[in-house]
């Protein structure tokens, strides 16, 4: 039986945003820009690219940070500017908004898959504990798909990740936290 995949409303609305005629090519262009810390995720996949507006020759790109102190934001801003400048758009403003606060729910299905293949467990690969936080065990190992894993640290290589270790294959791995 073929599984019918249901797309959450939020994802659907985001996809519709991309199809507005005068900005479609800009969304496609910005698919080149990757998160500098997780180079398999585009800004779109990560859900931090919120909006692109075009008024004649001037373009306003709206992004939102994942975590308050995310040090990648400055790079991301520069990268967005550069990709659009290189494509001949000179009047580009990159605007940062805080609200609504970024949620890992905004990550695209493609992004989640790429993340797992890259060796980082995506948010849905662990069930949250009773407090709604990262559990202390049983995140799915992206290397060998075992659930026999345990949390080593609340915070991993970046603020958005926690560190786990797999007790079957022995490998440590990052888990992208659900927030």
């Amino acid at each position: 039986m073929t599984e019918i995949s249901l797309m959450p409303q939020e994802q659907y609305d985001r996809l519709q945003q991309r199809n507005v005629a005068d900005v479609k090519e800009l969304w496609d262009l910005l698919d080149e820009v990757k998160d500098p810390e997780v180079p398999v995720l585009t800004l779109w996949d990560l859900g931090i690219l919120r909006d692109i507006e075009r008024d004649g020759g001037s373009i306003v790109v709206t992004i939102t940070p994942t975590y308050s102190g995310c040090p990648a934001m400055d790079n991301i801003r520069t990268d967005v500017q550069k990709v659009l400048n290189d494509a001949g758009f000179n009047d580009v403003t990159v605007k940062t908004v805080l609200s609504p606060a970024w949620s890992s729910e905004w990550m695209s299905a493609e992004g989640r898959k790429n993340l797992r293949e890259y060796g980082i467990a995506p948010p849905e690969d662990a069930d949250l504990d009773a407090d709604g936080l990262t559990p202390d065990a049983a995140a799915l190992c992206p290397h060998c798909s075992s659930r026999n894993t345990r949390r080593i640290s609340e915070f991993g290589s970046t603020a958005c990740k926690a560190l786990f270790q797999c007790d079957d294959c022995g490998e440590p791995f990052d888990y992208f936290k659900k927030i």
Partner: protein, 254 residues
């Protein structure tokens, strides 16, 4: 926005920015000194959350001030007497137990303050709170776990953790003080009335200290002054280190 409200909001955003940058810097002093690698990284991440918070508050303060200053001017070009942070946050990091006890006091405090700030009629303050709440949940779980582990640990770790609790307790009263500026904002649904939060803070902290086999201190002495710019000597030393590069090379970019 009336001038009185605007000025009060500017002051408030600056205070919250000062709190965040001072604690963020203190935590960052642990980087490369953590008891083990994962813990070192964890502390670095918590520091980043606070420094990020400071940037958001200062950016908003600069926007309200509208006098050409930027977030950097707020962080790097003001001296200790201009800083309005809570004293608890500027005390030197001490040993690991000391830092974790301070962190627990702060984390429980923010877990009470931020949900109130989320209700603020000021959209920017509310948006910053929305981001910070999610992060604080993780901070609190970590500081609580450490205080439990150290308090209910070895004789030595228990002794040091209790000492930290006793030494820092007197700085916690200031967390719940209100002055005219904050009262005006609270009355207008913009700021948080922190004066009503001490009971709940005391209850939550006491539960954790009890579980950690630690003794809850009597409310004997209290130190105040951060919100009026009267700091301990420590803040000046900290700012000297934090600001030296920016002040020595004004306008430098790399």
């Amino acid at each position: 926005m009336s001038d009185a409200i605007k000025n009060a909001t500017l002051e408030y955003a600056t205070r919250l920015g000062d709190d965040s940058v001072v604690l963020g810097h203190r935590i960052s002093e642990w980087v490369s000194y953590g008891p083990f690698l994962e813990e070192d990284i964890a502390y670095g991440n918590v520091a980043l959350d606070y420094i990020g918070r400071a940037r958001m508050f200062y950016t908003y303060a600069a926007e309200l001030a509208d006098d050409g200053r930027t977030e950097d001017d707020f962080a790097y070009m003001r001296s200790d007497r201009d800083y309005r942070n809570l004293l608890l946050l500027e005390i030197p990091r001490g040993d690991f137990a000391y830092s974790q006890v301070r962190q627990l006091f702060a984390d429980v405090y923010y877990s009470l303050v931020l949900p109130k700030l989320l209700q603020s009629k000021d959209e920017t303050l509310s948006a910053i709170a929305a981001k910070a709440i999610k992060e604080t949940k993780y901070h609190l779980r970590r500081s609580r776990d450490w205080v439990l582990r150290l308090g209910d640990g070895t004789q030595e770790s228990h002794k040091r953790t209790q000492k930290a609790v006793d030494q820092l307790w007197g700085y916690t009263h200031e967390l719940f003080d209100m002055d005219k500026t904050e009262q005006l904002l609270a009355d207008n649904g913009i700021g948080v009335d922190v004066s009503v939060l001490r009971g709940e803070w005391h209850k939550r902290v006491s539960e954790i200290l009890n579980d950690a086999t630690l003794t809850i201190p009597e409310d004997g002495w209290a130190v105040r002054g951060g919100r009026t710019g009267y700091h301990t000597e420590n803040l000046g030393h900290m700012l000297t280190e934090m600001q030296i590069v920016h002040r020595s090379h004004p306008g430098c970019e790399w």
